[in-house]
């Protein structure tokens, strides 16, 4: 009886032990399944898709080291060098100039200057009677590539330049520089070059990039210190770099009952605007349209000035003038490029003539104003063309030459074709039929390339930052592709700037800006799969809590038992 009881107990203890063991194994197995299958499954199914981005390259770009290289050729005409000086040319010199804009941005300008003597043909060209003709024939001899310049050094005796002019800047990429006789300047070539140095620097500043321009172009990236506000105002005036612009000419006729206006805008655009835009084609695409708006009035009632028997608008009120009209100008439905508005306002018969006064209460001779990054407005008085006894409506032809002169000046300002005042002793050639000299275009291209690079890097780095900060944003493959292409184009643009290939640099920088904007404004980034963590866990808890608590508890139990067993074993051994 006792024995059977013992046996029973023993077997039950044994069974109990094996049962416990089985239970432990089962708990371990379930835990293993949960950890090996469940957790990865949950992780995979709730994860957001994030394509790979070239983060390290983007971080490299965040530290922008721009180097601009310009090729300068200095050609000495006959009579400027002594024979022993002539022996030393041709000669190549490189000048480096470093500017640190802020801790992340550094600029380095490199001028590679080649000195040589003039060829016979060039000598012939330089013997033309006037500087303009010399410039033209020099241009036909050799065409210098985009971004480079040629400076011809001519002797003091040359009759090309007026007496008070030392430097003549041509329509293309050439300049004429007059120096004193070799005897007076110095014996060695080094002395001569040192003598020329300040003038050369000025020439380069005018015809190629200048530090103020480039720093202004970087304004998107760099917070400019409050000291140089003037340059900010200049850079704020011009439109931001964009792959295209829409130019809209609007004729505002608030009084169609009295004035029937005719403007030959088509012909005027062809004659005056189109040549400039053709020249600017490498920088951006332009499209032009025009419209006539009737019953469009300015937002301010002009004041009657009895001394002049005319109505006047003050400069202070101009900011309010345009608001009611702007609502009617309409944006271009067919593209998203910035719009440059040029308004020709013909005051109504009862408020004519209308003059704009500047801040000093002086009448503005052009009767025109412009607003930075918006456009320009010109007031065109027509009351002088009909007498008091005129029968309304009167037909009036608008003098487009006068109008377009103003609009063209405004257009140049707004596009950033800004020419700083040349230093004394400089003569700048009239820019001819295109309205833009080659070197002016180069200047614009330099600053536009730098601006594009700066904007694109800012866009790309801020996009990378944003994506890095918010882990829930889905990054699709096409965005990753856009980002990579933007980064590649940026690197290429920087490299081309370094190599001095201005045309390619601008091209690549435009591609970079397009790709980066496309990536940044991709609508798929807005589909933010964002659930706050508390809500997520509120949904998970009913499942996770009952599942995980037993697993955790049994694991803890197993661990504690194993520890106890080991301790017992230790005790037994001891």
């Amino acid at each position: 009886m006792q024995a059977t009881t013992q046996m029973l107990i023993g077997s039950s203890v044994f069974a109990c032990l094996s049962e416990r063991r089985r239970g432990q194994l089962a708990a371990l197995a379930i835990a293993a399944v949960v950890i090996i299958v469940g957790v990865p499954l949950w992780w995979r199914t709730t994860e957001t898709y994030r394509a790979w981005l070239p983060v390290s390259q983007i971080n490299e770009l965040a530290k922008l080291q721009l180097q601009l290289s310009a090729d300068v050729e200095v050609v000495f005409a006959r009579g400027t060098l002594t024979p022993e000086q002539q022996k030393k040319v041709p000669l190549t010199q490189t000048q480096d100039e470093e500017h640190r804009v802020d801790e992340d941005t550094a600029l380095r300008y490199r001028y590679e200057t080649r000195y040589r003597t003039a060829t016979i043909m060039e000598e012939d060209a330089l013997n033309q009677p006037t500087a303009a003709e010399a410039d033209l024939s020099l241009h036909t001899l050799s065409e210098s590539p985009c971004g480079s310049l040629v400076v011809y050094v001519i002797p003091e005796s040359s009759s090309l330049l007026r007496q008070d002019v030392d430097v003549y800047i041509g329509q293309r990429r050439t300049a004429l520089l007059r120096i004193g006789s070799p005897m007076r300047v110095g014996r060695t070539l080094e002395q001569l070059l040192a003598h020329m140095e300040p003038r050369m620097k000025q020439v380069l500043q005018v015809m190629s990039f200048s530090n103020t321009d480039i720093t202004a172009a970087l304004s998107d990236r760099v917070r400019v210190s409050p000291g140089n506000k003037g340059s900010i105002a200049d850079s704020m005036r011009a439109f931001k770099s964009s792959p295209g612009y829409e130019i809209t000419f609007s004729l505002l006729n608030p009084d169609p009952k009295s004035h029937r206006l005719h403007w030959d805008i088509e012909g005027a655009v062809q004659t005056y605007i189109q040549p400039l835009l053709t020249k600017l084609a490498p920088v951006a695409n332009f499209s032009i349209d025009s419209q006539t708006l009737y019953y469009a009035v300015l937002g301010v009632n002009p004041r009657f000035d009895s001394s002049r028997s005319a109505y006047t608008l003050n400069a202070d009120s101009l900011a309010h003038v345009i608001n009611p009209v702007e609502a009617r100008l309409g944006s271009n439905a067919a593209s998203s490029n910035p719009v440059l508005n040029f308004l020709l306002y013909v005051p109504d018969a009862h408020h004519s003539p209308l003059y704009i006064n500047d801040r000093k209460k002086q009448e503005v001779p052009s009767n025109a104003f412009h607003s930075p990054r918006w456009g320009g407005i010109m007031v065109y008085n027509v009351n002088a063309f009909y007498g008091l006894d005129a029968v309304f409506p009167v037909d009036i032809n608008i003098n487009m030459a006068k109008v377009m002169g103003v609009f063209l000046a405004q257009l140049r300002l707004l596009l950033g074709v800004q020419s700083s005042t040349p230093p004394p002793g400089f003569q700048v050639a009239a820019c001819g039929s295109a309205g833009l000299a080659d070197w002016e275009l180069d200047r614009l291209m330099w600053s536009r390339s730098v601006e594009n690079v700066a904007t694109a890097t800012t866009t790309i780095t801020s996009l990378a930052q944003l994506l890095d900060q918010i882990g829930n944003i889905v990054i699709n493959d096409n965005i990753a592709q856009q980002v990579s292409s933007a980064v590649t184009s940026l690197q290429l643009a920087v490299a081309e700037l370094e190599a001095g290939n201005l045309g390619f640099a601008l091209q690549y920088s435009k591609e970079a800006i397009l790709a980066s904007e496309r990536a940044f404004f991709d609508p798929s980034l807005l589909h933010l799969l964002y659930f706050p963590d508390d809500q997520k866990f509120a949904i998970y808890i009913p499942l996770f809590l009952p599942m995980c608590v037993p697993i955790l508890l049994s694991l803890l139990k197993i661990v504690s038992e194993a520890r106890q067993k080991r301790r017992e074993k230790q005790a037994k051994k001891d």
Binding site: Q291, Y294, D358, V394, K402, G435, P546
Partner: protein
């Protein structure tokens, strides 16, 4: 000043001749550019800028700067001018005819129901060519925004309408321009367009921006390509319906935000800010003065539309031009608001009176329909006008009193025209419209239903064919085998059926059929459908309101009582010249039925969370028991003694007896 100007222009005159000489000599023709350069270079600008920045520390603010342009010296100015024509002068009377033309007109028709129907039509004709790829970019009367849309998207014809309210055909008769409730857009693209769907998508987005409407909700699920119902209304040789897209948004609510951009398209139509209104002249002119939104939307029916199409200029169609027709129709219920007095005036309707015509309009007229009132026994019209005009419109010859706003005499001594209609009797019978349609949903429950479309032919003895177009969203699954067409209790077999089944979440059902309507009959088209279950994100924010199904469209050539006018280029009132008329014996009518409002099975939207919680709990309970079964070890426990036995044992122990 004036003398100076004259002197200046005289100098220009002389030097312009010189300039021609210069041009022929191959000299530089334009020097304006360097004027500009000089202007920019002038140090004054720079100092100006510096001063301004000093005054305004916030550089971001919009700054206005004086543009300095040096007055061109006379010889330069002369060289500027390429053409020898006088630069700024009064133009002699022989002005070249402008290539665009603007007309405006208002038709007022007193309705027998006691309402009043006012229909504005503004037409801009522009002799230009959007078709052949040459860029059109200089606009005068034609609005620039629409011109850009046409040329960018290669649109051949564009018709867009926004309507609030439903046109009650049986009470009001046929409208001049029919439109379904909500928004409707149909576009014919030019055959040069390769990706029609992509262009359509972009176009709807752009139009949505122009008209401030939710047209961007037009996508493939509500766009169809009707094969026969929507033919081009302008000149065209293309009838391949691959280039046609048609969509309606019956849910669209039309309000002032849609009216304002519509008004902006009118050359005389915009009013700038109220506070700038100058006392000497008003900022609107012509009929656009009447377009005051607070009155226009206080009406039983409001419909505004824009139609763009190419039309012929002359009978042989040698020259073509683009026609932009802006129409606005309103039905005023003045009976209820007028304290029972039947007396209407322009001022009561629009709270404005007319004072002038739009100076840009070549014709500006107001027509009052007085057909039912030949002797003035129905109503009295003040002021009376001697001008009468007859026009054949919608198969009926009607008489109109005409007020020509371009004539000063119209406005009389008070210089304003306030038309007044005073009713004398309430009797009168309306000509019943010959074609009329109705539609409703039948059935109960949320699973199936039946769409009934009724087409009435009220003609006493003529039967005529009708094209029925039905576009039903995919979530109503039509059982096309249940389609029955019966008239006069007999089966009426359609002679043409075009059916395109839907694809879930991709495209709607399209059903088009040609049915012959017997005289004086009702033809009923029924089709059963099943309601689909939507995904929970596909429901609208107010799902229990129901889902709209756009109007059916009935298009038909209705036999006409009077001979129709087939010459499309002849001078006619605008309201009678919209639908081109090919033959004299019939006229084209389009009738829209009511939109349907269908309830779909709607879930409880808090359900997903409840379901998740419930499922998780069930899973957790099941899992918990399974887990316990698997991991707990089971052992036989010594059966414990009962309470009585234990007590007995204690007593036995005390007594010294062995326990049980």
């Amino acid at each position: 000043m004036a003398a100076y100007r004259y002197g200046y222009s005289a100098v220009l005159f002389i030097l312009c001749g010189l300039s021609v000489f210069l041009v022929t000599n191959g000299q530089e023709t334009i020097l304006t550019g360097d004027d500009g350069a000089a202007a920019v270079d002038s140090p004054q600008t720079v100092t100006e800028t510096a001063e301004q920045t000093a005054e305004q520390p916030a550089v971001e603010e919009r700054q206005w700067e004086v543009t300095e342009v040096e007055e061109a010296s006379p010889d330069e100015a002369a060289a500027d001018k390429q053409d020898a024509s006088a630069p700024e002068t009064l133009v002699p009377p022989s002005v070249p005819r402008p290539k665009d033309d603007f007309q405006e007109e208002l038709v007022i028709r007193p309705l027998h129901s006691g309402d009043i129907y006012a229909s504005f039509q503004f037409r801009t004709l522009w002799e230009t060519d959007f078709m052949r790829g040459n860029k059109v970019s200089h606009y005068r009367l034609f609005p620039k925004s629409l011109g850009q849309v046409i040329s960018k998207f290669s649109v051949r014809e564009l018709h867009i309408s926004f309507t609030q309210g439903y046109w009650r055909t049986m009470q009001w008769g046929q409208p001049f321009l029919p439109a379904p409730p909500g928004a409707e857009l149909w576009v014919w693209f030019q055959d040069s367009v390769t990706d029609v769907d992509g262009t359509w998508k972009e176009l709807t987005n752009v139009l949505s921006g122009i008209f401030c409407a939710s047209l961007n909700f037009i996508d493939s699920t509500n766009t169809v390509q009707p094969s026969a119902s929507f033919k081009p209304l302008g000149i065209s040789n293309v009838t391949d319906h691959r280039f046609l897209r048609y969509a309606t948004l019956p849910r669209e609510i039309v309000c002032t935000e849609n009216l304002t951009p519509w008004k902006k398209l009118l050359p005389c139509g915009t009013k700038s800010l109220q506070l700038t209104e100058l006392p000497l002249f008003s900022l609107q002119a012509g009929l656009a003065v009447l377009l005051k939104s607070e009155k226009l939307f206080h009406s039983s029916f409001h419909s505004q539309a824009v139609h763009i199409r190419p039309v012929c200029e002359d009978w042989q169609c040698k020259t073509t031009s683009w026609e932009l027709r802006q129409t606005l129709s309103v039905v005023f219920d003045l009976h209820t608001s007028g304290q029972g007095k039947r007396e209407w005036s322009l001022f009561k309707m629009f709270s404005r009176t007319l004072t002038d015509a739009c100076p840009l309009a070549s014709s500006s007229k107001v027509y009052i329909d007085i057909t039912d009132n030949p002797e003035g026994e129905q109503f009295e019209l003040i002021p009376a006008t001697p001008l009468l005009s007859q026009a054949v419109v919608l198969g009926d010859r009607r008489t109109f009193s005409v007020y020509d706003l371009t004539q000063q005499i119209t406005f009389g001594a008070v210089r304003s025209l306030n038309l007044l209609i005073r009713w004398k009797s309430t009797e009168g019978d309306m000509l019943r419209p010959l074609l009329h349609g109705e539609r409703y949903v039948a059935g109960y429950g949320l699973q199936t239903g039946e769409i009934h479309t009724l087409m009435y032919n009220n003609h006493p003895y003529r039967s005529f064919p009708v094209l029925l177009l039905d576009s039903v969203p995919w979530y109503l699954r039509l059982y096309i085998h249940t389609l029955t067409v019966t008239s006069k209790a007999k089966d009426n077999k359609p002679s043409y059926i075009h059916y395109q089944p839907s694809k879930d979440r991709v495209r709607p059902h399209l059903l088009e059929m040609l049915v012959q309507l017997p005289p004086n009959s009702v033809t009923e088209v029924t089709v059963q459908f099943e309601r689909a279950l939507l995904k929970w994100t596909e429901y609208t924010p107010d799902p229990n309101h129901g889902f709209y199904v756009g109007s059916s469209v009935l298009s038909s050539l209705v036999p006409s009582i009077v001979a129709m006018d087939t010459n499309s280029t002849q001078e006619r009132p605008l309201f009678s010249s919209f639908f081109p008329c090919k033959e004299e014996s019939s006229y084209f009518v389009r009738v829209y039925t009511e939109p349907l409002l269908v309830n779909l099975p709607t879930p409880d939207f808090s359900m997903p969370y409840n379901v998740i919680c419930l499922t998780c709990t069930v899973v957790a309970v099941g899992y918990g028991s399974l887990y316990n079964l698997l991991t707990r070890s089971f052992q036989i426990e010594e059966p414990s003694l009962g309470l009585a036995k234990r007590i007995a044992n204690i007593i036995r122990k005390m007594r010294g007896v062995p326990p049980l």
